[in-house]
């Protein structure tokens, strides 16, 4: 028997596609329930050598994303091709997915985030919907995620934060001079600053076995060399491996989900490494968690006679309502230097819910950060100077780099039917059709961002910034850099109005589940990772119960 025969004879209870935030909570839950689990991860391991805090490799060359030439995404907006080889939506091809390099901001969505249509009604040009689950449904799993992942913060400090049934948070991360300036300024403005809940350990985490933060500053966009940022590969994956029921296949690129004569998912076809040779694994249940663009792409690639428009796409909702968030930074230049930091600290949610007459229905978050990396900073300054450099450019960098601190506005991206993922005529290096992404921001998204940036600017000035550099990131760049991928396979109780039911099970394929951000009907105004993780734990419990009960 050849190695290929061995792989093709593979048969498991559950095949999970992806190893990131949406995949690992579910995979862990199922393995702990005694079910055999195989995870297919398109990426490989990452290194914690000197590359870990290398700005060029990590955040400019995106060393863990394949190149746009090898693995392109075609990006379009308003009928215009913005990029034929974008890297958007590739997330991080790594064991642990995007959580390895994420900012680690770990919010609970607000109850209103789950009831967008009920709270705000219809909005022209947007496809608002309620989630078929409520905050109360998800609350126990938020608690579980906070414990299993490890979150630092102060329960209740955020005035918009919903009820917690149990406080399992570690103490907040330490403050610093910029955070203190922002806190004082916010209070003078009558606002309520609070430490942002972070998946970074303020002290050694006995539950996960991960270590305390060393405050080296290399957080946002970097893997943590101190094992203090709680990515799922160092928190959940080791536990899954200890069950003896869990296997991880790296560099495994899932390209199709095949169904049997009863229309059930039966096999996942994948390639290994750079080879185009196809392998397959047979599974009783398939869990798809490859992130919203790639998950939708895989469903579309899995079209067959029984599913001519794509697997589980009888409603036509597969790929539709793609959402990012709309994020922009506002740099404040102060009359003092600050220590080098790249982590996020203080939140302001006094304007999270739009007020009457604002002209938009988006939820909006203000998040203070710290410094940009030096290459990003110099590039931004050069851009602002109209691409003109020289002695004054260098003098400006020298005078202001350490005195400049960034604050972010993060705005909800309203779901729109025309914002979608399809299949392109362009193919990747494996000959597989690339995803084609269409996206444009809604007028309300833009109004909400403008309004939030004005408040950010006001706060920076109140904190003492003598100069404000509100760097207007072009829309396509905001999309290009998007890490928050949501929509494309929304949950709905109505099979005609969504792809998944309330337990993220495909309406048409009862042994197919999707547990990444694809299932979100709306995006909230908050970083989505903790919600993805909590939901993945919830769906894991459901699948385990169904399989143990013989219903799957």
């Amino acid at each position: 028997m050849t190695a290929q025969d061995d792989l093709n004879a593979d048969e498991v209870d559950v095949c999970v596609i992806g190893s990131g935030a949406g995949a690992m909570p579910c995979a862990l839950t199922l393995a702990q329930a005694g079910l055999s689990v195989l995870v297919l991860e398109k990426g490989g391991d990452y290194s914690l050598d000197e590359t870990a805090d290398d700005e060029l490799l990590q955040t400019i060359r995106d060393m863990y994303r394949p190149s746009g030439e090898l693995d392109p995404t075609v990006l379009k907006s308003a009928g215009k091709t913005l990029s034929s080889a974008s890297r958007i939506g590739q997330g991080m091809y790594l064991v642990g997915g995007g959580t390895v390099r994420y900012a680690a901001i770990s919010w609970r969505f607000r109850p209103e985030d789950f009831k967008k249509k009920t709270v705000y009604g219809s909005v022209e040009g947007a496809d608002l919907a309620d989630w078929p689950v409520s905050y109360e449904d998800l609350e126990p799993y938020y608690t579980k995620a906070e414990l299993e992942i490890g979150i630092s913060g102060i329960s209740g400090a955020d005035p918009t934060e919903p009820r917690r049934s149990k406080d399992v948070l570690l103490p907040p991360l330490r403050t610093d001079p910029y955070a203190e300036l922002i806190k004082s300024a916010a209070k003078r403005l009558g606002w309520t600053p609070f430490p942002i809940p972070m998946a970074i350990n303020s002290k050694p985490n006995a539950h996960t076995g991960t270590l305390a933060c060393m405050y080296c500053g290399w957080c946002v966009g970097y893997p943590c060399e101190h094992y203090a940022k709680n990515s799922v590969d160092i928190t959940l994956l080791p536990k899954a491996e200890r069950t003896g029921k869990f296997r991880l296949l790296k560099k495994a690129y899932a390209q199709k989900i095949e169904t049997n004569g009863r229309g059930l998912a039966e096999r996942v076809i994948y390639s290994l490494g750079e080879s185009r040779a196809a392998f397959s694994v047979k599974a009783r249940v398939v869990v798809l968690a490859a992130s919203a663009i790639q998950s939708a792409r895989l469903l579309l690639l899995s079209a067959s006679g029984a599913y001519p428009h794509g697997l589980a796409n009888g409603s036509g909702y597969v790929g539709k309502n793609l959402m990012f968030h709309f994020e922009q930074g506002c740099l404040g230049v102060f009359d003092r230097d600050f220590p080098h930091d790249l982590y996020v600290k203080t939140g302001i949610h006094d304007f999270y819910f739009p007020r009457g007459g604002s002209g938009f229905v988006n939820h909006c978050s203000i998040q203070s950060g710290s410094q940009l990396g030096p290459i990003h900073y110099a590039t931004m300054v050069g851009h602002r100077r109209g691409g003109v450099y020289g002695g004054d450019f260098v003098k400006y960098l020298r005078a202001n780099y350490s005195a400049t601190q960034v604050m972010l506005a993060l705005v909800e991206d309203l779901p729109q039917w025309e914002n979608r993922v399809g299949l392109s005529e362009t193919t990747d290096a494996w000959g597989v059709p690339a995803p084609e992404v269409h996206h444009r921001y809604h007028a309300m998204d833009k109004a909400a961002l403008k309004s939030t940036l004005e408040k950010v600017s006001r706060l920076q000035r109140e904190a003492g910034a003598s100069q404000i550099l509100s760097f207007a990131i072009p829309e396509h760049v905001s999309r290009h850099n998007a890490w928050h991928l949501m929509g494309t396979a929304r949950m709905s109780d109505d099979p005609a109005a969504g792809v998944l039911d309330a337990f993220c099970r495909a309406h048409e394929v009862r042994n197919l589940f999707i547990t990444d951000g694809s299932c979100f009907p709306t995006s909230g105004g908050l970083n989505p990772t903790l919600t993805i993780q909590a939901n993945s734990f919830r769906v894991g419990d459901f699948i385990a119960a169904e399989m143990k009960g013989g219903r799957l």
Binding site: V394, K395, L397
Partner: protein, 180 residues
């Protein structure tokens, strides 16, 4: 080519401000001033690959017009930006070799011959005149080189530039790698 007087250059600079999206006139004037100082003789480091010597000389002057030597900061060439670019063109940025060649050819054309063979004043004026003549695509190519120049100045020294962290020191950046 016919050389412009300084007065003509300043007038040309005003036209450039309109041509270069968002470029403030004062910045262009600064560039001119910096260019006068930046485009002095350069000594090419050993071991540069991919491009010809003439191309490297031209790119050296372009790089030094982006990061000129000031009282407190070293020039791009002295920080090792060319070594960074050479290594990048052999690897990650190998498909961008054409960008460098196109920019070098553009300056050669503007100079009416070997750009590097011009004297300092001529080089300064040539760069400015060339920048003012660029179409959108050419401006993008120049920006690519500017981007690489920034990367070579400020990335980790292991990539070939930012020798001994002198680029970081120039902007007063002190990276922490091991805690408080």
């Amino acid at each position: 080519m016919s050389w412009l007087t300084r007065r003509q250059l300043l007038r040309r600079g005003a036209a450039l401000a309109a041509l270069t999206a968002g470029a403030p006139w004062t910045a262009l004037r600064d560039l001119l001033a910096a260019g006068d100082a930046a485009l002095g003789p350069v000594v090419l480091p050993q071991g540069l690959k991919v491009l010809s010597r003439e191309e490297w000389l031209t790119i050296a002057y372009v790089s030094n017009s982006i990061f000129p030597e000031t009282e407190e900061t070293p020039s791009a060439v002295n920080v090792g930006v060319l070594q960074f670019m050479s290594r990048s063109l052999e690897g990650y940025s190998r498909w961008e070799r054409g960008v460098y060649s196109t920019v070098a050819q553009g300056l050669r054309k503007a100079a009416g011959g070997d750009f590097a063979a011009l004297n300092e004043d001529q080089r300064a004026r040539c760069v400015l005149e060339w920048l003012g003549s660029l179409d959108e695509e050419s401006r993008k190519q120049f920006q690519r080189i500017a981007r690489h120049c920034i990367e070579g100045y400020l990335s980790r020294p292991s990539h070939g530039g930012n020798t001994h962290g002198t680029g970081w020191k120039a902007i007063r950046f002190t990276p922490q790698t091991h805690g408080p």
